[in-house]
Amino acid sequence: TVGAVAVDSDGNIACATSTGGMLNKMEGRVGDTPCIGCGGYADNKIGAVSTTGHGEAIMKVTLARLILFHMEQGQSVEAASDLGLAYMKSRVDGLGGVVTVDPQGHWAARFSSPQMSWGAAQKDTLHYGLYTGE
């Protein structure tokens, strides 16, 4: 799965996610990616999230919208992302990762899986990582 979130100079926010799905899946299986609030969500008033990971688990907790709910409650992008991923792990034993932005341009790339490749650009600076803590 791949995905992106962005805030432009007008303050508009968007997300996109795309996937080949799950290895050896049944024909016709559809996971979280094309489901609003699961594979992604964007709202100028709150922020945007793109997700990756255990698709069925992400769907059960509507991970993207759950993270934005935590942001609506005042959590930072990092804290909200971690709270959403922790809830998914504790409730449905699911692992995954997210990229998140808020309307002020704060961003996060967080994951509960062993690895997630990610990259970010802001103020002409490129950030990237693969392991926790990078």
Partner: protein, 165 residues
């Protein structure tokens, strides 16, 4: 307002031999999308550009490089969402197109629906002039090896991480 773009190339276990290509791929996608933001472009244009680049990179599980289903075929899903209007578009179980994310955007821009699936998505792509590509062009040697190893081992998935999409 400071523009920002963040991308991911998927969660799970990334084999060491693929980690450098994966990191290079996300960095390249970020540069492509961020250039649009720097030029005054929209966040929607930026995320679609970044994800299209990742779909075209065989190191990632989307577009070219998608994992194979139980029949050894490619079925892809994608979504876009616009935070200004809450407009969204998605496709699921779509086959034989290079960039499902661009088709998802067409669903958002050109229809009153939120998601088109399978044959209907393919028909919509054709109506929109989106070219079809041979399924073989989306399948990498790595994808073939992955699914072959599972079948030979008589398993449905590799590991818990292997279940990730």
């Amino acid at each position: 307002m400071l523009p920002v773009l963040v991308v991911h190339g998927g969660a799970g276990h990334i084999p060491k031999e693929r980690s450098e290509k994966s990191t290079a791929g996300v960095c390249s996608a970020v540069r492509a999308g961020y250039a649009i933001l720097q030029g005054g472009g929209s966040s929607m244009d930026a995320v679609v550009e970044a994800v299209s680049e990742l779909e075209n990179n065989p190191s990632f599980n989307a577009g070219c490089g998608s994992v194979l289903n139980v029949k050894g075929e490619v079925e892809m899903d994608a979504i876009v969402m616009d935070g200004k209007t809450l407009g969204s578009g998605a496709v699921s179980a779509v086959r034989c197109i290079a960039n499902p994310v661009q088709l998802a955007r067409l669903v958002m821009d050109k229809t009153s629906h939120a998601c088109l699936t399978a044959e209907g998505a393919t028909q919509f792509a054709s109506a929109m002039g989106v070219p079809t590509v041979p399924q073989e062009s989306l399948i990498t040697e790595y994808s073939r090896i992955e699914v072959t190893e599972i079948h030979e081992a008589g398993r449905t998935v590799f590991t818990k991480e292997g279940k990730m999409g």
